[in-house]
Amino acid sequence: MNAEDKILERLAKHRTEAPDGFADRVMAALPDRPRIALRDRMAEFWPTHGRWIAPAFAGAAAMLLVGFGMGRLGRPAEAGQVSFHFELHAPGANRVELLGTFNEWKSGDIVLTGPDASGHWTAEVALPEGRHEYIFLVDGDRWIADPKAATHRPDGFGRVNTVIKVYEEDPV
């Protein structure tokens, strides 16, 4: 190894450490960012000042096309149901399915969309209020509990399901 290689190796291990307490000072200086409910985030996309007609018709037409293309219409959230966002990071996967108590663990019923540029698969599903269990099925042979969820329970057959409780948020 020549002198330059040795120096580059040292550089790779070298850090100029931020001053003590740096992260704490940054966090103390941050403005408050209120937690944003999914409903409110979606509302931000809604155009104002009467400019909603064209995008609304375009969106409705696109949804109809997608619905007919899939051989069925989408399932909108009904009263007592909550739209829930499922997401799994699986950049190398070819297909990700969602199976749970809400679709009687049927394979092929809910297929996630993806992967996006960051390798995430997503699905928006209308769930009845209450407790649900679910699991992701990747490429038809890998069962994955939701790594982002806090609660899991063994299913008694060697796999681990994720447990969630969903409730409609109280109107502000």
Binding site: E4, T16, E17, A18, P19, A23, R25, L30, R33, S118
Partner: protein, 175 residues
Amino acid sequence: MAMDERTDQELVRAGLDGRQYAYEELVRRHQDAVFGLAVSMTRNREDAADMAQEAFIRAYNKLEQYNPAYSFRSWILRICANLTKNMFRSRTRRRNMEEQHMVQTEIEQSAVDPDFQELEEALVRLPPKLEAPLRLKYMEGLSYDEVAKVLGVGVSAAKMRVLRAKKLLVEYLKP
């Protein structure tokens, strides 16, 4: 899932939902890289800490604009580099004073490990235009494309600066 297992992109999403602990993890992950870049550009640890702090605050305020297809580290480094350049534009006249000040304070404050100090002293001797790309390339592991984007220069300029920085560093560190 433990915080340290989450990707930067996952932490950004949690930060967007108002979970400040997620953003704090991002700060802790990248604070040395951002501070190091600011040190190399400002030549003053106090200014560098201010620039790095401001960069993280700016990033937080425009977290919605972050594109997860790209590295968060490159993004925050670019914000810091732009802030620092803007600071210099507004006070160009003080630059020479700050460079001299840096050479003194940096060496005083890093008297820990002899190897660390020797390298830190050598880095400080490099012109800021050469030190910053060298740090990004070899300490942060960025590609030349990323180095160029962070510093707002062309890829060939970034390569040339890294090459010159390496030559000078070898000379400074000759036994």
